[in-house]
């Protein structure tokens, strides 16, 4: 036990890989067993990760630190740790993991063992990304996410799966090789790959601008920020349900996590300078995503575009750089993971039964599938941000924070335009719900549909409960995130001012000289 206690974080990250080992030993064509192993491993991982929450001190310090030299000549360390920002993203990953496996029981029937292997590798890579405190380690985890996801889309996806899978890889790859170049440059400037070391070095504004650009492009593709979002609808539509849930639930957060962990704290001057531009892109994403979602005929595509809109809120919140807005952005990440994850699961449920996702094929489902309708309504309301549901807190904080942000010029306009996104969100979601669930159930294909079965209820109920809990009782989440966020912003302000202050002094001195 002490072995687990002292390396708790590593166990949480790498437990899925142990599952991969077990699956590899498994004889072929033993699908049931493969599912069970994956499920048990991920449940264990979730339980183990609960110990992280219990042991977590609500301070800004890095916790559960593990550090070991890996490649000595380059000073690359295996260095993982979590703070308030990472903690909940890791938890989101471990929480969604078993639910996703459970949701594949009837959806994935071919090559089950391979599917579970890819999924477990994905879990490890995503958690590693959230915990790595070394740039090379981070890059390795970041890249390791790519292939399992691409294979999940490409093997188990829909009709245009190969196109979607290749597009996903290429978009992400172009972004991330530039980041690798920036990491090399940072190494040669600072002599190390450790995040803390790099953060402590003062880079010139020009260097910061280039490096910020290289990192931010990589993250913006992942988020995805307008205008590099075009891979997302394709990937979502073609991906199997489980793939969509991981993609929306966790993987998109790797992008926003990168922004808050790397782009902003490593390059404060550039972040401060370009914050308005990114906020503009974010706001465009919010409104554009919502408008495009409104005209979709396919439910899954609609939910995919709603992700573009919601992630726009996150980016807006991050670059408004007030305590409220950044905490709000973090909260939106979690809430979006739950709500959109649930929506994709629900779309998957109906797709399994009807093999269509077109809105026009449905109508009046509330009469035949009451439980399904209730679950869908709850997820919808959480997604549109009804007060009392998880979506509300985050978006409200983001808008509140951006409204009084000092880092954005005309911050109120940003907040106001962002707020229209909330309204549009309600429009497209509720309109879709109206067309799918209410009215008369005319289509004979829909009349005999089975309602949710026990397994599906088991998948959805934990999500629903959390949507309510996070909506009415946000304190546990906010109080653990707040210290880390505040420390980050404080340091950011200090460093921006430290750069501005000498400039003022020189101006002042030169003016004095002139007077003399």
């Amino acid at each position: 036990m002490s072995m687990i206690e002292s390396h708790l974080l590593s166990w949480v990250i790498f437990l899925p890989l142990i599952g991969v080992g077990l699956l590899l030993l498994l004889p072929r064509r033993n699908d049931r067993m493969a599912r069970n192993i994956a499920f048990v491993i991920l449940v264990l991982d979730f339980l183990l990760s609960l110990k992280l929450v219990i042991g977590f001190e609500p301070t800004a310090a890095l916790q559960f630190v593990e550090r070991k030299t890996w490649v000595a000549t380059y000073g690359i360390d295996y260095h993982v740790a979590i703070d308030g920002i990472s903690l909940w993203l890791v938890m989101l990953t471990t929480f969604l993991g078993p639910l996703i496996v459970l949701s594949t029981w009837s959806a994935v029937t071919e090559r089950v063992r391979e599917f579970m292997i890819f999924f477990l590798v994905l879990q490890t890579a995503m958690m590693g990304t959230f915990c790595a405190q070394d740039l090379v380690l981070f890059y390795i985890f970041w890249e390791s996410v790519l292939l399992p996801m691409a294979l999940m889309i490409g093997i188990w996806g829909g009709a245009r799966r190969i196109y979607a899978s290749v597009k996903f890889v290429l978009y992400t790859m172009v972004g991330s090789v530039l980041m690798l170049g920036a990491i090399f440059y940072l190494y040669h400037q600072t002599g190390g790959f450790s995040l803390a070391g790099v953060r402590a070095v003062n880079l010139s504004p020009l260097q910061q601008a280039w490096l910020f650009g290289a990192f931010t492009v990589a993250f913006a593709v992942k988020v995805p920020l307008f205008p590099v979002h075009t891979w997302l609808p394709d990937a979502h539509v073609e991906a199997p349900t489980a793939g969509s849930v991981v993609l929306a639930g966790v993987m998109l957060k790797m992008g926003t996590y990168g922004l808050i962990r790397f782009s902003i704290p490593l390059f404060p001057l550039a972040a401060a300078k370009y914050a308005p531009w990114l906020a503009v892109l974010a706001v465009i994403g919010i409104v554009y995503g919502a408008l495009v979602a409104m005209v979709q005929r396919d439910v899954k595509k609609l939910v995919a575009y709603s992700s573009v809109s919601h992630l726009g809120f996150v980016v807006l919140g991050l670059f408004a750089m007030t305590s409220e807005s950044v905490v709000g952005a973090m909260y939106v990440m979690l809430a979006h993971g739950l709500a959109t994850g649930a929506l994709f699961l629900l779309v998957g449920v109906i797709y399994e039964r009807r093999h269509t996702r077109a809105i026009k094929d449905f109508g009046g489902l509330a009469h035949v599938m009451p439980l399904f309708t209730v679950a869908f309504m709850i997820a919808t309301l959480a997604s549109v941000g009804l007060p009392g549901m998880s979506g509300f807190i985050g978006e409200f904080l983001v808008l509140l924070g951006s409204f009084k942000s000092s880092s954005l010029p005309a911050a109120r306009i940003f907040a106001a335009v962002g707020a229209t996104g909330v309204i549009l969100g309600a429009v497209y979601m509720l309109w879709m719900v109206q067309r799918v669930f209410f009215g008369r159930c005319d289509n004979p294909d829909n009349q005999g549909l089975r309602d949710l079965n026990l397994r599906e209820i088991c998948v959805l109920v934990p999500l629903m409960i959390l949507m309510f809990v996070m909506g009415v009782f946000p304190k546990p989440w906010i109080s653990t995130m707040q210290p880390s966020v505040d420390a980050l912003l404080e340091r950011h302000v200090e460093r921006v001012e430290a750069h501005v202050a000498p400039d003022l002094r020189t101006v002042w001195l030169s003016r004095e000289e002139e007077q003399r």
Binding site: T73, I155, V166, L178, G181, H188
Partner: protein
């Protein structure tokens, strides 16, 4: 020449003996099949491996003709591993022929000796002898599929262009000798750095330029790459793997020595030219590889691109103890040898007797028919693409990082973008294996030797990917030894 000189080059001696022994065994032990030849040759390769590691840094054999130090040992190890894998794979492929080619075994061994001489060569004549020993064996090997027109074409093309490049090299060597009155590289280095420098400066510079051209042919830098796609496609797959890995490693070992010798003269003045060659090679190789549907041809263009990546390291290297770029090159060549021989072994496994299924479609649905083989192939391809955590990633990491440190930022950015482009065509193979449905006749290439080879390659690649330390340390020792040899 003394006994101690011979004992220093024991690995090469074992291989020569092995070559002779396999020839004799083939002539005097009449047996069907080639198992006995394979075993004979493997025994001698293993003996050579066991006798590696003689000499310490600064040890010279045969009056300064050969250096037997950590640098040479690093490359000797690489070549022997390549030879070992190629023999195992080739024995299967050549046994499929109607009239089996027994010469395959001695030729591989002789060619390996040539490579080893190249990596050790301290003077330009020894270097040339090594290069010719390697090449002539390879000309024959490329043409060794007697029933195939492509194979004959490959051999002939390789011979013509190889002879052409040898002429350049030889002409360059003679110019250098004219300018410096010596073939000995460390002495050339001394004379170039002595007070007053070299009087016939133009001749001296021209000599290096011609040597660079001669070697550029061998490593297939653009625009000296014309032979590569045809030869790589036409030659039997195990030979292609041997060629791509071994020749490249040997030629880059020589290039590294040459660049260090002339780093203050030719190569510092030609820096923009070198960077241009690197950019041209990477970009051309990758862009053309995108359009290929034949796997061997695609890998040929990818080999050109890889030469470009390694050349980025050559642009950033300079004579000093523990030069990071040179270390990166050594690491890259070692891991590239593993993945390349592995990939071509897989191609020979899947492509069938005449190599008719080298088309990308031959790999359709391989993951369903044989998940293990396709998983290894995926690992090898990802390593070629430089995706972590594989050995290929660290190779690129070391080289690009060193180039960035030397201030070649643009070059590195172009190289990185190139690796993103390359991702597309490697990914395409993975897509075909995993995402397309199988069609046509079932996959039939069961061969324990080949399977063992590729499995070993894949495991080694993953292992080095997770723990790059040991190989990188060996490479560092090699670079240090190289610096001490001047």
């Amino acid at each position: 020449m003394s006994w101690s000189d011979v004992s220093l080059i024991a690995p090469m001696v074992w291989l020569v003996l092995g070559g002779v022994a396999t020839l004799l065994v083939d002539a005097f032990v009449p047996r069907k099949g080639q198992g006995h030849l394979l075993i004979t040759s493997l025994v001698f390769v293993v003996l050579a491996l066991a006798s590696l590691g003689r000499g310490s840094d600064g040890t010279e054999a045969f009056g300064g003709a050969l250096a037997i130090d950590s640098f040479a040992n690093f490359f000797h190890l690489t070549f022997l591993v390549v030879a070992l894998m190629s023999l195992a794979v080739g024995s299967v492929v050549f046994a499929r022929e109607e009239k089996p080619v027994a010469e395959f075994y001695p030729l591989i061994l002789f060619s390996t000796v040539g490579m080893m001489v190249m990596a050790s060569a301290l003077d330009l004549v020894t270097l040339f002898v090594g290069l010719e020993t390697m090449s002539i064996a390879l000309y024959v090997l490329s043409a060794s599929q007697r029933h195939s027109l492509f194979s004959s074409e490959a051999g002939f093309k390789y011979l013509l262009l190889g002879a052409f490049s040898s002429a350049f090299l030889l002409f360059g060597i003679s110019l250098i000798y004219g300018a410096t009155q010596t073939f000995h590289l460390p002495t050339i280095f001394e004379r170039a750095h002595a007070a007053g420098g070299i009087s016939m400066y133009a001749v001296y510079m021209g000599g290096w330029a011609l040597i660079l051209v001669g070697l550029a042919f061998k490593v297939a830098l653009v625009p000296f790459h014309m032979w590569t796609p045809d030869v790589y496609e036409g030659a039997p797959s195990p030979i292609t793997g041997f060629m791509a890995a071994g020749v490249k490693a040997a030629s880059f070992a020589v290039l590294l020595r040459v660049v260090w010798t002339a780093s203050d003269g030719f190569f510092s003045e030609a820096a923009p030219l070198m960077a241009g060659l690197a950019i041209l090679t990477m970009s051309f190789g990758n862009v053309v590889a995108l359009a290929q549907t034949n796997l061997k041809r695609m890998l040929a263009y990818s080999a050109i691109a890889h030469a470009g990546y390694i050349f980025v390291g050559l642009c950033a290297t300079s004579l000093r103890v523990g030069d990071p770029a040179a270390k990166g090159i050594l690491f890259y060549l070692f891991s590239y040898a593993l993945m390349n021989v592995g990939t071509f072994a897989l191609v020979s496994l899947v492509s069938g007797r005449d190599g008719e299924r080298c088309d990308l479609d031959g790999f359709r649905g391989l993951a369903r028919r044989n998940p293990l083989v396709s998983a290894t192939m995926a690992i090898l391809l990802l390593s070629l693409a430089g995706v972590p955590p594989t050995a290929g990633f660290w190779g690129k990491f070391y080289i690009f990082e060193a180039a960035m440190r030397e201030g070649h930022t643009t070059l590195v950015v172009i190289a990185l973008l190139n690796s993103a482009v390359a991702m597309y065509y490697y990914l395409r193979v993975i897509v075909v294996m995993y995402m397309r449905e199988p069609e046509g006749e079932a996959y039939d290439g069961h061969s324990p030797q080949i399977l063992a080879t590729i499995a070993a390659a894949a495991v080694a690649i993953l292992w080095i990917g997770l723990f790059p330390g040991p190989v990188s340390e060996l490479a560092r020792l090699g670079v240090t030894a190289l610096a001490h040899s001047f």
